[in-house]
Symmetry: C2
Subunit: 415 residues, 2 copies
């Protein structure tokens, strides 16, 4: 089927999904999980073809992301079952008011409609995204990476068996067949056919969406996250937070990329930082890229022009000395991607300035930036982390996949 | 100043506005209202120049919208003072949770940043929009119509005196000087300088924004609103609602444009409709544009190809006979702009089908569509009526001019 045909069929499935009861959706999710496990052999065979085709073309890290195993498939199935346990956002009454003329106005959560997701090579995104879309009453159109296409197709085929077994249309979950850039562009411009587009990928994909999209988009992902060590910081706490934010998983978007240090503590703190992140680490020592003032205190690589504007996703940390919390806020305002930033301080005034002045999705006081995550925030799941301010910001759970409508009931009120 | 210079200055004013206390903002609003009244002579003189320049170029209705008087200026000032009385949305804690690791996560309302508004010739939009933006902590960049430019400039000048009198930057409210299409296009594409663009105008402006905007946009306004008279309708109630929805103010977006009638009551109801909307009205009788089945019952103009897809904004009503609530829902899905639709029925099942199946901002049961309005909904005000599903839907009050951020506080939590 062409992308247009898939989207048209998805639009037709909208009303059935929007009207589906919580029970039906949960039954569908459990049936999808069962079907995924029952199709293990088919999915692994398809994955094997993907892996053979990809060998030599993509790096080992990407190959590992692409590879499925019985354990990973069981994990995907469990992920779907977990979504069945989450509360249904659809129909949730957000506000209710009775007006003086007697009419009742309820603001009620409703699905967005057709949600398209552009993603890359991890096959588990296929089942995660489908499960979250279904639970929130949305029809889901998936456009995965070329390398994982056979695996994704086998996963979608299995999930569709689950859908139809409970009477929902199989077009509630679709996979775009065209894996060239043309289909991404078509999704970005399918006004009236795509109600929400969520690009999950690197900087290039997100920028292309901002530049070309005519449909509603939520930008996700890229994180140039900062930790600011204030004059009033508990320096041992700051060290622990930075070590965690930088080294626990450097490839993710909530990892720290830049450390700002107040000049009043820089002479004490920077040697401690170098000890912890560089000298004490036999494996994966962190490369410190230092501004001029930091270079005067510790040894490291002089920071280049772009080092304060780069998402390293690696064991690299840019370090800068600042003279005040205001200077830290201004630097973050100029260089951050609006994802997650932290201050370490015992000074409530500095903390309040920071949380007010920093315009990012998640602003932390004495906590690692690594917590920006749907699960860690208690949402139970996430479709991605929004770095925009319209609609959803930060981890997007089921409620963030919904819009709302006003339902007004009365007995003949006129104005 | 160029549009770019104005936007750059607006960006610099963001932090002062975001950090302004409720008291400061309210003092600023009252000072702006006072300054508006104190500048009455200047504003009227500027308005006189606008009116003279516009005479012969725009119609009488538009000239009336453009014209100011001491009463209208007093009304604008009162409008600003009313906004000062509304609750401040900024800092409102939307959700709060303490996680098992002891960190507290607060989802807190924050301003969007720089909000740009493109509007047409009504000078009162200048003060309304500025007041709503200010109260919600946003910097406001106004791009009004050419015809009203001198009036808008005088109003902004007065409001700026109010702003500076309480120590807020005058760049919190700016008027774009370039009134050619170039400045609209510049606002639509000013990525990083405009945090939210709200076009308030006709279909052409909205379509241009959807086609060209690279910045976050909220579509407002156009309303092809439907009233469906169900088989189980109280026909007298239906008549009253339709008369109100169609004739009380036909030029507004929440006026009815299309009437759908169930075939089981069409033979009884349509003659009553013709009597009330046509025969009984000496002044402004409604022109009925009828589909074939309605033509078989009453006299009227045969509906043309586009009559079910037109926002008439006039004493014209398209009428169609349908065989079920499902057919009504399907017709609305295919022809509505997603603004406001009503069902008149005494049947709860039909009402539930309608409110679930109709995907519009406001869905009414036994109430006129004319209530879709910030004031009528109890929001106290509105910046416009969103017809999109991302972020805000329906009347946009102060809360809808805000985003949120997550503020997480702890004592050294790491992951």
């Amino acid at each position: 089927m062409t992308t247009f045909e898939i989207l048209t069929a998805a639009q037709r499935a909208k009303s059935a999904l929007a009207a589906a009861s919580t029970d039906t959706k949960n039954q569908a999710l459990n049936a999808m999980a069962d079907a995924l496990e029952a199709s293990e052999a088919d999915i692994l065979a398809a994955n094997q073809l993907d892996l053979e085709a990809a060998k030599g073309k993509i790096g080992d890290v990407m190959l590992d992301r692409l590879a499925l195993s019985p354990t990973r498939i069981a994990g995907m199935a469990q992920g779907i079952r977990d979504v069945a346990l989450l509360p249904d956002p659809v129909g949730h009454v957000l506000t209710e008011v009775v007006r003086p003329n007697g009419m009742t106005i309820r603001r009620t959560a409703v699905p967005m409609g057709v949600v398209a997701i552009i993603y890359e090579s991890r096959p588990n995104v296929t089942s995660d995204a489908a499960a979250l879309a279904l639970k929130s009453g949305n029809v889901c159109v998936l456009r995965g990476g070329k390398e994982a296409h056979r695996s994704a197709a086998a996963i979608v085929q299995a999930m569709r068996r689950g859908l139809t077994s409970v009477g929902l249309p199989e077009t509630a979950v679709s996979l775009i067949e065209d894996t060239t850039r043309a289909s991404s562009n078509e999704l970005m411009t399918a006004v009236g056919l795509v109600d929400l587009l969520i690009p999950r990928g690197g900087k290039g994909l997100i920028s292309a969406c901002v530049a070309n999209a005519k449909v509603p988009v939520i930008q996700t992902g890229t994180g140039i996250c900062h930790v600011y060590v204030d004059a009033a910081a508990d320096l041992e706490m700051a060290l622990n937070i930075i070590e965690n934010a930088k080294t626990s998983r450097p490839s993710v978007c909530n990892a720290e990329e830049v450390c700002l240090v107040h000049s009043a503590v820089a002479e004490r703190f920077l040697p401690m930082l170098k000890q912890r992140l560089v000298d004490d680490r036999a494996v994966n020592p962190v490369e410190l890229r230092l501004d001029e003032r930091a270079q005067a205190i510790i040894a490291g690589v002089p920071a280049g022009e772009n080092d304060f504007d780069t998402e390293f996703l690696d064991y690299i940390l840019a370090v800068k000395v600042v003279d005040s919390v205001e200077e830290a806020i201004a630097h973050i305002g100029a260089h951050s991607t609006g994802h997650s930033e932290a201050i370490v301080t015992a000074d409530d005034t500095a903390a309040a300035k920071f949380t007010t002045g920093v315009d990012s999705a998640a602003v932390y006081v004495n906590v690692s930036t690594r917590f920006t995550d749907g699960g860690e925030f208690g949402l139970g799941c996430e479709m991605g982390i929004s770095t925009q301010k319209l609609h959803a910001r930060g981890p997007m759970g089921l409620m963030e996949l919904c819009s709302y409508k006003y339902v007004i009931t009365g007995n003949g009120q006129i104005r």
